[in-house]
């Protein structure tokens, strides 16, 4: 369907009923999402992470910088963190578990994160 572009305001009939949000705040979020890998988007990593900005969790580029020297040895611990969550590496707020991410998907995500370069 081709719909007319979004109105400047919209109404959410959800929680208590109403949420009016400004359209102008979307550009930053979409730009941030565009830098994520398709798998990272598919697995909704953007809900807590951006590539180079701190959101709820650390920026992916920071994870890459910290662990890059470990080479392939970093893949498995990162994959397990993605699946099981937990705290300790980046502050005291535990990352949520992602039980729907398979081990292979988690490893692929870890490799993508480790491949990120600054700038």
């Amino acid at each position: 369907m081709n719909h007319r572009p979004a109105r400047s305001r919209f109404v959410c009939l959800g929680v208590l009923g109403l949420c009016i949000a400004a359209a102008t705040t979307s550009a930053g979020a979409d730009e941030s999402r565009s830098r994520l890998s398709p798998l990272a988007l598919q697995k909704h990593c953007d809900e807590c992470h951006a590539v180079d900005a701190t959101r709820i969790g650390p920026p992916f580029i920071a994870v890459a910088i910290r662990h890059r020297a470990e080479g392939d040895a970093a893949v498995e611990p990162l994959a397990q963190k993605i699946i099981h969550g937990g705290a300790g590496n980046w502050g005291d707020i535990p990352m949520i578990p992602n039980e729907r991410v398979t081990v292979e998907e988690a490893r692929a995500l870890a490799r993508w994160i480790l491949s990120l370069k600054s700038g």
Binding site: M1, N2, H3, R4, P5, A6, R7, S8, R9, F10, V11, C12, L13, G14, V15, L16, G17, L18, C19, I20, A21, A22, A23, T24, T25, S26, G28, A29, D30, S32, H44, D46, E47, C48, I56, G85, G86, A87, G88, D92, I93, P94, I96, P97, E99
Partner: protein
């Protein structure tokens, strides 16, 4: 009430039997539910999930009788049997069966009711009612709380050394609230709306919500014990629940039947689609609301001239004529430049769309906290802002709406501030305002009885309020069997003279009998049975509702349901001809 009429399939089964493909004794799939001591287990929900590619509902559910026996209709196909019974676990998690098979389903007691008790069971321990109301008001609008993922996170916090202080737990829940805000913002922009980056969907900063979450979601969230439905079950061995799926992705919202009980209409709020399901075959037709604007079908109201559709995105109201499947759209005039967010439309005591004496449809305008009107004959529309309620300014959200039996007043609910009131459609003045004791009590969807009693679902408070709109006095406020059930809507049943109350958090529908002020429970077979409105089929008296989990990540079902209660009070048919609304009839021409 009889089983749903399915003459074609019944004929086919008879034909198969005549050809020797089935025996009369094995005409229906059935069996018995028992424990490991072979004691009968009554009231168990036995669900037959059909095999793929087989026509019909995605699943059928019946209930075992006092002997533990259950039977599906003769038309039931092959599939897989599973059982849900509070406090028991099935020995085999599922059992494949052929059509017309006889099965013995064995259960063993399970003190830990995880998987059978609803989410509301975990909220019983909240000390302060206000905390429960805030949690339900802010979280359960989109998903059950605590969902299994939330309980898993609570356990993670228990197990993590860094989150053993109240401050660190609160910060952790704050992160979750932020995540949910982001998810909801994306969800509601998926179909073309804007995507605000970090908007706060709950209408406030995450901190206060996180504080309540941190206090409420403590302890052994991996187990729940001693939950009971809190009222007698209203089911019997003839009760039949039919569940229908539609193609994914979807965001099912509401479901309703019109004059044909075999034609089920389902709204997909994330698109411009209405699904039309043949309830016998399960065949689905997708009907697209025409035009360039995204409406997002949300509220479905049965009209005498077709299906009326209130949209998620503001600005329009639509009507589908079911025979020709033709559409008519009415743009709604902005209120002081602001688009109109129609939520509920004026319906009568039969839950059918109705007009005032001047032929105007009335609606709640959630976008402007106003009462709006539309004359479908002329297309003219307008609105009247609801006056502020002293002491409760801020957070007002008009929600439910119902017409008085004499068609002179519309009654409305303001969910954000615990208030409801009336508007005189003749003088065009607001008249009565009633403030509930708690501003976070609710109410959400409301309905009107034949004798002018307004029934209000107090979402946060877990109560039902009954207000006499003629005497202008409260009849009573009644605790629901489960105060954390998040009652979303009420529907007056004019044939049975009872009120049906859907819940968002208790996997159940409640029935309230005004004669003796008693409640009964209709349990639902599926976890995360997140309900919205319920309608009553005109011909059969069946309940029509939906599991309306709307956020993409919420893993609960998205299905439409038809519930044949199996009671003896077969409602008299109320066809188009039985009701008369000249204005609506005119508008269809």
């Amino acid at each position: 009430m009889n089983r749903p009429r399915e003459p074609i399939l019944a004929f086919m089964v008879c034909t198969l039997w005549a050809c020797g493909w089935a025996s009369p004794a094995a005409a229906a799939t059935g069996g018995r539910v028992a424990d490991l001591n072979n004691q009968a287990l009554p009231g168990a929900m036995v669900t037959l999930t059909k095999s793929p590619q087989v026509p019909g509902p995605a699943a059928l559910t019946v209930f075992s009788d006092e002997h533990g026996s259950f039977a599906f209709p003769p038309t039931a196909p092959a599939g897989t049997l599973s059982v849900r019974l509070l406090g028991y676990k099935q020995v085999d998690s599922s059992l494949p069966v052929a059509a017309a098979a006889h099965a013995t389903l064995l259960m063993r007691p399970a003190a830990n009711q995880v998987g059978t008790a609803p989410a509301s069971a975990y909220l019983r321990g909240i000390a302060r009612p206000a905390d429960r109301e805030v949690l339900i008001g802010n979280c359960v609008g989109c998903h059950q709380l605590p969902a299994p993922e939330v309980r898993a996170y609570a356990k993670l916090l228990d197990d993590t050394p860094q989150t053993q202080t109240p401050e660190s737990r609160q910060k952790s829940w704050e992160a979750v609230v932020q995540q949910m805000n982001y998810i909801s913002a994306r969800e509601f922009s998926r179909a073309g709306g804007p995507a605000p980056a970090d908007s706060v969907y709950s209408g406030g900063e995450p901190g206060p919500m996180a504080k309540v979450l941190a206090a409420a979601l403590r302890g052994p969230m991996q187990e729940v014990r001693g939950y009971s439905y809190g009222a007698p079950l209203l089911v019997n061995s003839r009760t039949l629940i039919r569940e229908y799926e539609v193609p994914e992705p979807n965001a099912i919202r509401e479901a309703v039947t019109l004059d044909d009980p075999n034609s089920l209409f389902v709204a997909d709020v994330s698109s411009n689609r209405i699904f039309r399901i043949d309830t016998t075959s399960g065949a689905i037709r997708t009907l697209t609301i025409p035009g360039p604007d995204l409406l997002g079908p949300h509220t479905l109201v049965r009209g005498n001239d077709g299906l009326w559709i209130g949209p998620f995105f503001p600005g329009h109201v639509a009507r589908l004529e079911p025979k020709s499947e033709s559409w008519k759209l009415w743009p709604l005039a902005p209120a002081n430049g602001h688009p109109v967010g129609l939520h509920d439309m004026s319906f009568d005591t039969h839950h059918d769309l109705t007009t005032d004496r001047q032929g105007r449809i009335w609606f709640s305008d959630i976008g402007n906290n106003a009462i709006g009107w539309l004359d479908p004959r002329t297309g003219q529309s307008g609105s009247y802002p609801i006056p502020p309620v002293p002491g409760r300014v801020g957070g007002e959200q008009v929600y439910g709406l119902a017409m008085s039996p004499d068609h002179t007043h519309v009654w409305y609910a303001q969910v954000g501030i615990g208030s409801f009131g009336s508007f005189n459609t003749q003088t065009l003045k607001f008249e009565t305002e009633v403030s509930l004791p708690s501003p976070t009590a609710g109410p959400r969807r409301i309905s009107m009885s034949d004798d002018g009693v307004l029934y209000l679902a107090l979402y946060g408070a877990g109560q039902l309020a009954a207000y006499d709109t003629r005497a202008l006095k409260m009849v009573g406020v009644y605790d629901l069997p489960d105060r954390a059930s998040a009652p979303y809507s009420t529907t007056w049943d004019p044939q049975r003279k009872v009120v049906w109350i859907t819940t968002s958090n208790a996997d159940a529908i409640y029935r309230f009998n005004p004669r003796d002020r008693s409640f009964a429970v209709l349990p639902l077979p599926r976890e995360r049975a997140f309900l919205r409105s319920v309608n009553i089929d005109r011909q059969t008296g069946a309940l029509v509702t939906s599991y309306a989990n709307i956020v993409e990540h919420v893993r609960g079902p998205r299905m439409a349901l038809i519930i044949d209660l199996g009671d003896s009070a077969a409602p008299a048919a109320r066809s188009v001809a039985a009701a008369s609304d000249p204005a609506l009839a005119d508008s269809s021409r």
